[in-house]
């Protein structure tokens, strides 16, 4: 865990003790897709939904450890199939109903009913779910038919936040309209799709997680989320005092934000860093030597320095450095153009007249499909294109819409696919690279990798599990299944008045400790 986290305390701590009250005005970069935590996927949706639900556990962003929240303690069987949670007493949902073991069961059962079409992430966390038993009023036993070690971390996510019966009884569409009831420190006060969301403080909230910095109610009276898609308008609104914090502050916006006393808060996303997933079934990427040569052919420091700025970091493994179980493989990913050329020479790829290599009449050329979900993608890939050219490799860019990305990935119609995935648990390697996952690589079994990916899911012991996740990271690079580039960072612009706005372990915002000074 070596993330560059920065909280929003002013330098020197001259802000004094936190002051309750006030409305924080927050500018989202995209409209939330749905108000339901269980159906939430995008960051902007999660920034809102996170505030209205509590989870069974919370993950400490500094250590990756799981801490008590709604569950005061828990037990996991050694085969990682049965999880027993002991709930805190006296917790109520915002409609006044008490939290019980039945609430946990109803929440999880309703996710199974939503299905992986409506709730893809929540459903994947509950793979092989058998059911939840209310052992007594405050003891819930969650059972799986196969080992599911990742579930413990998943119990800390927004998607598995516990909801009141009035919400879990609703059909999927109704749950998107902004009347969801949770036990969280804020409640929905107004929800206008595509425009704005207002959250109000829950009075009498007493059951904050062990990760929170203070006890009792949240400081803010209200949070007003407004959708402001244009980044220049977001930055201008922040600098002119019309907003208190904004999503997706671009590196070029930082000077304008800092000129008015504000700051850019950033944290590295855990999960799979940005990179190229190789389709090993077609083109020159069928050759393992080519995939190997790509690893040292990319100058990742240059990518960060030239395109992104200091809040970003080069990728150093198939997992981002802030993911529990991350192994530092930076030596494997060091920039070494001579090594890249050597590997290709040895494999018989000979430079042609235009500098691009070829072997048996096949040109060393492949394409990448990517979308502009992250603003820096195109510039990064263009720079990679130049770097690969130095090694005699031709990369062609195929910019597609998000819609087409999904379609092309499902049809395996690509050479490489460029993306990243956020998840604060090493199990993301199984979902991204496992034969039972999406397997965009189209690969055949690799016993050492497959054993590690399935093994980590049945290992409740953290040290043993991390060792398996470490093996998986090495195997993925050995097979050239992922060519990492840079780690995604969340960059939040905050005004001088905005204090203690924090990131939770999955790099999404937690507003509980946030407060406004000078109001």
């Amino acid at each position: 865990m070596a993330a560059c986290r920065s909280d929003s305390a002013a330098p020197g701590g001259d802000a004094g003790p936190p002051q309750p009250g006030g409305t924080m005005r927050y500018g989202l970069s995209q409209a939330p897709t749905c108000s339901d935590p269980a159906q939430a996927g995008t960051n902007q949706t999660l920034y809102v939904a996170r505030q209205i639900v509590d989870s069974l556990t919370d993950q400490d962003p500094a250590t990756g450890e799981l801490e008590p929240w709604l569950a005061q303690r828990w037990e996991v069987t050694p085969d990682a199939k049965v999880f027993t949670f002991h709930l805190a007493d006296g917790v109520t949902f915002s409609d006044g109903t008490p939290l019980t073991a039945d609430s946990v069961r109803n929440t999880f059962d309703s996710i199974i009913r939503l299905g992986s079409g409506k709730a893809p992430l929540a459903s994947s966390y509950l793979t092989n779910y058998v059911g939840t038993t209310a052992v007594d009023r405050l003891t819930a036993r969650v059972e799986f038919s196969k080992p599911n070690a990742q579930f413990l971390q998943a119990s800390s996510t927004t998607q598995l936040g516990i909801l009141a019966d009035v919400t879990t009884a609703e059909p999927a569409e109704q749950r998107c309209l902004g009347d969801n009831v949770g036990s969280g420190p804020f409640t929905y006060a107004a929800y206008r799709q595509d425009a704005a969301v207002t959250l109000a403080k829950r009075t009498g909230y007493q059951w904050g997680s062990a990760v929170f910095a203070h006890r009792g109610e949240a400081y803010l009276d209200k949070i007003e989320f407004t959708v402001v898609p244009e980044s220049g308008v977001r930055t201008g609104s922040l600098a002119s005092g019309q907003l208190d914090a904004i999503s997706d502050a671009l590196p070029q916006d930082a000077p304008q934000i800092e000129a008015t006393g504000g700051r850019v808060l950033s944290t590295a996303n855990p999960g799979v860093p940005f990179g190229f997933q190789t389709n090993v079934t077609r083109g020159p990427l069928r050759d393992p030597a080519v995939r190997q040569a790509l690893l040292p052919a990319i100058d990742r420091e240059q990518l960060v320095d030239t395109v992104l700025g200091p809040q970003f970091k080069p990728a150093t493994s198939a997992l981002a450095s802030s993911t529990p179980g991350y192994t530092d493989l930076s030596a494997r990913l060091a920039y070494d153009p001579a090594k890249a050329r050597g590997i290709l020479d040895l494999a018989g790829w000979v430079p042609g007249p235009d500098g691009i290599r070829a072997k048996n009449g096949e040109r060393l050329s492949f394409s990448v499909i990517f979308s502009q979900v992250f603003a820096g993608n195109q510039a990064i890939i263009e720079l990679v294109q130049q770097q690969l050219r130095q090694a005699g490799v031709e990369l062609t860019l195929d910019l597609v819409s998000v819609a087409e990305t999904t379609a092309r990935q499902n049809a395996k119609n690509f050479d490489t696919s460029y993306y990243n995935t956020t998840r604060a648990d090493g199990d993301i390697l199984r979902t991204s690279f496992g034969l039972d996952g999406r397997n965009l690589n189209g690969r055949e079994p690799i016993p050492a990798l497959d054993d590690a990916l399935t093994g980590q899911l049945s290992t409740a012991d953290t040290a043993a599990r991390n060792a398996l996740i470490g093996t998986a990271q090495q195997q993925i690079l050995d097979a050239g299944l992922w060519i990492p580039t840079v780690e995604l960072s969340q960059a939040i612009g905050a005004s001088a008045n905005t204090r203690d706005l924090k990131f939770e372990a999955s790099a999404r915002l937690q507003f509980f400790d946030a407060w406004l000074s000078g109001r």
Partner: protein
């Protein structure tokens, strides 16, 4: 008149049906499945269960044969049910109903500003006799047409919102919140109106009846206002009808820059997610607006220039004073 209106109503229905059918065909030709996109909205990289996708497709009727989906959707649309958004689950009529008032407010204000600005500019450019000033005024519309809407919007925000803090930068309501986006949208449209009206005014000034009016002792101002403006405004009026359609397209950019809720933003998000029911709803709405505006324009023509009615009646009546009855008769025959 009644027969004419009935014909036009039929024509409008035909346009609506064609728009619905075309958008249906185009959306289904696109190489993506909306359910997979919605399910992968998280970009999670996690595999979505094939059974779950199939179940969702069944829920939205996407698993049935294309012609059956088409008939069902058309049947529902005729009864005013446009289905549910695949992404948000909101009924499409609600989504459009939520977005429409803001867009109407924006485009209505913009049209008013565009007409006021365009007419004033054209009036000044043809009335003023000083050649240099006249030339300068006549060149303004070209500038207005060529400046990108996006840039105008950001510039106005930079000055009036971020620097002078006179107007809110986003989500605006009321006068202060509407004036900047409306101005942004009005600028290119007002410029086109000014261009076309200037040309119309200049042509009309050369007509013989103007000389007659001046000879009778009318001042230039009075002649321009009472004799020249009305016939000269016919082409500008035609263009204004087309521009109303363009404004809906312009609202995509303006609503994004000014972070306003509205039909433009709704369209943009729906197209990106290939949210077929919402896109179809917007296409139907746009066609309906276009058809109604053009009908209104056609009905108002003869009131502006009775010669149109006279000409279409087949006569070579050059007299200015045709009766309203004759105009109506001409419409019926048209």
């Amino acid at each position: 008149m009644a027969r004419y209106l009935a014909l036009r109503a039929l024509q409008a229905l035909w346009v609506l049906w064609a728009a619905f059918t075309l958008s249906f065909v185009v959306l289904y030709l696109l190489p993506a499945d909306p359910v997979s996109i919605a399910a992968d909205g998280a970009g999670a990289g996690t595999p979505v269960d094939k059974a779950a996708i199939a179940e969702l497709q069944a829920r939205y009727g996407l698993d049935r044969p294309l012609w059956e989906q088409y008939w069902t959707a058309l049947g529902h649309a005729v009864r005013g049910d446009l289905g549910h958004s695949i992404v948000t689950g909101q009924p499409v009529t609600d989504a459009i109903g939520d977005a429409l008032p803001a867009t109407l407010q924006l485009t209505g204000t913009a049209l008013l500003l565009a007409v006021l600005g365009g007419v004033s500019l054209a009036f000044a450019a043809t009335y003023i006799r000083r050649p240099w000033l006249r030339g300068a005024l006549a060149a303004l519309p070209s500038l207005g047409v060529s400046v990108p809407t996006f840039w105008t919007g950001l510039l106005l925000l930079q000055l009036f919102s971020f620097h002078w803090r006179l107007a809110p930068a986003f989500g605006g309501h009321g006068f202060a919140g509407t004036v900047l986006p409306a101005l942004t949208l009005a600028l290119p449209i007002g410029a086109v109106i000014a261009q076309v009206l200037t040309a119309g005014l200049e042509t009309t000034w050369r007509q013989p009846f103007v000389d007659v009016a001046l000879a009778k002792g009318g001042s230039r101002w009075w002649v321009q206002l009472t004799h020249v403006l009305r016939p000269a405004s016919v082409p500008a009026f035609t263009i204004a009808g087309v521009l109303v359609g363009n404004m809906l397209a312009g609202s995509v950019v303006v609503e994004t820059v000014f972070a306003r809720q509205g039909v433009g933003r709704l369209t943009q998000t729906a197209v990106l997610a290939q949210d077929i029911p919402v896109v179809q709803g917007v296409v139907l709405l746009t066609s309906a607006v276009f058809v109604s505006v053009n009908l209104a324009v056609d009905l108002i023509y003869p009131l502006l220039d009775p010669r149109i009615a006279a000409r279409s009646r087949g006569g070579a009546d050059e007299s200015e004073h045709t009766t309203a009855d004759a105009a109506e008769e001409a419409i019926i025959r048209a």
